[in-house]
């Protein structure tokens, strides 16, 4: 089975940014994304999942290296200053490269 390497970009950030991030993803041409609800702590304090938008989301996007770079740069510029957010990138192997 042939494998193809793509990039997995994971973003952990405030739940209230979901709508905004999803529209960013579309604008940049990502072909899909996956979100799970999360809680956690970082430089901007503790974020629990107790009510309204008090929790985090954990957003994953698989895409090619170029798009991953562009997305990461955009997120850094647009959100890092004012929102709780971290992101990290990894290589992953996928079966159907045309999907990502």
């Amino acid at each position: 089975m042939e494998r193809h390497v793509r990039r997995l970009l994971t973003v952990i950030t405030e739940a209230s940014l979901e709508r905004s991030l999803v529209s960013d993803l579309k604008e940049f041409g990502a072909r899909g994304y996956t979100i799970t609800d999360a809680r956690g702590q970082g430089h901007r304090g503790k974020r629990a999942l107790e009510w309204e938008h008090s929790g985090n989301i954990r957003l994953e996007v698989i895409c090619d290296a170029a798009l991953a770079d562009r997305l990461a740069a955009h997120l850094r510029e647009r959100y890092y200053d004012h929102y709780a957010m971290i992101l990290f990138v990894q290589d992953v192997e996928v079966l159907r490269p045309e999907k990502f």
């Binding site: 304090g45 999942l49 009510w51 004012h82």
Partner: protein, 313 residues
């Protein structure tokens, strides 16, 4: 009769459990459920009475209430900016929070009024809706002026399509369309359970508020003082407007409570979108951990007295 409304004791229980870090979590889904029922109940009750009201009579009141919503943040801002020496964004955000309203506080005030047998204009929930948005708009303008970069689209969305507005307005509309007879079949859930559901809501709010309490002092004494003094001052403004509108004493008291209450749902969401550079912890701590407890434990009976004093004095 116990001086304090028993539903408020559930809030105290929640705060105590939270401070003791008890193993007591009510999942967010329950919060959503309970708060949706409260919002719908309040809306339905208000709407039911709206039907009996000639619309013409209300127009003046509507205008005055909107004015109140614009005025309050304009009063708060300079105090926060200059006396409190807060950065512009934070001062504007706090002003928006305190100019807007807390439906939870309003629910406790209604419970208080019922318990004390105080009649009031049943369409007051309409005022809750009217008071929610204007102060937030003013706060945004205070923070950024009429800036070109503000993205009004998402913001309008946040403002007018937030959970509380939709459920309150939806309840009002359904209540208005169905009338008292039409609502009878759903009364067991939305009216008979109201106080029990409010008790659960306050238990949850106690847990949530206690988590914010820790941060309260970290933000300095000024914030604590503001969180206690602003509601007092605003309640007097509310009383003034209530008198101007010719409300009954119960209605005046409820308007005082609304003026005194600070938003912890609509305003935080909107300010996060419109003024991201404001530190959200400051406003939330003040409104949720200081003003909300103060209002439901001390404020409501106090504003009641104040109303009696000023009306009869």
């Amino acid at each position: 009769m116990l001086a304090i409304d028993p539903v408020v004791l559930f809030f105290v229980l929640g705060v105590a459990a939270g401070l003791a870090r008890a193993e007591l979590r009510l999942p967010a889904a329950i919060y959503d459920f309970v708060s949706a029922i409260l919002l719908l109940s309040i809306g339905l009750k208000g709407g039911m009475q709206l039907a009996t009201q000639p619309v013409g009579n209300l127009l003046g009141d509507v205008a005055l209430v909107l004015l109140l919503g614009v005025l309050l943040p304009l009063v708060a801002f300079p105090v926060l900016r200059f006396a409190g020496r807060l950065p512009r964004a934070d001062a504007a955000s706090l002003a928006a929070h305190y100019g807007s309203v807390s439906v939870g506080t309003f629910a406790v005030a209604i419970s208080y009024a019922t318990r004390q047998g105080i009649p009031y204009e049943e369409y007051m929930p309409l005022f809750v809706v009217l008071l929610e948005v204007p102060a937030i708009l003013v706060g945004i303008l205070l923070a950024r002026g009429v800036s070109r970069t503000t993205r009004w689209g998402p913001l309008a969305h946040e403002l007018f399509l937030g959970k509380s507005i939709v459920l309150l307005l939806g309840g009002l509309a359904i209540g208005w369309a169905a009338g008292p007879a039409g609502l009878e079949p759903i009364a067991p859930l939305f009216f008979d359970l109201f106080k029990g559901v409010l008790a659960l809501f306050l238990l949850e709010m106690g847990l949530i508020a206690s988590a914010q309490l820790a941060g309260a002092l970290r933000h300095g004494l000024f914030l604590v003082a503001f969180g206690l003094v602003a509601p007092l001052a605003f309640s007097v403004v509310g009383i003034g407007f209530g008198v101007l509108m010719g409300l009954s004493p119960g209605g005046v008291m409820l308007l005082a409570v609304l003026a005194a209450s600070a938003s912890y749902i609509a305003a935080p969401a909107a300010m996060r979108t419109a003024v991201p550079e404001a530190n959200p912890a400051i406003s939330l701590t003040a409104s949720l951990a200081i003003t909300f407890p103060f209002n439901i434990l001390v404020g409501i009976p106090l504003y009641h007295r104040l109303t009696e004093l000023l009306l009869n004095g």
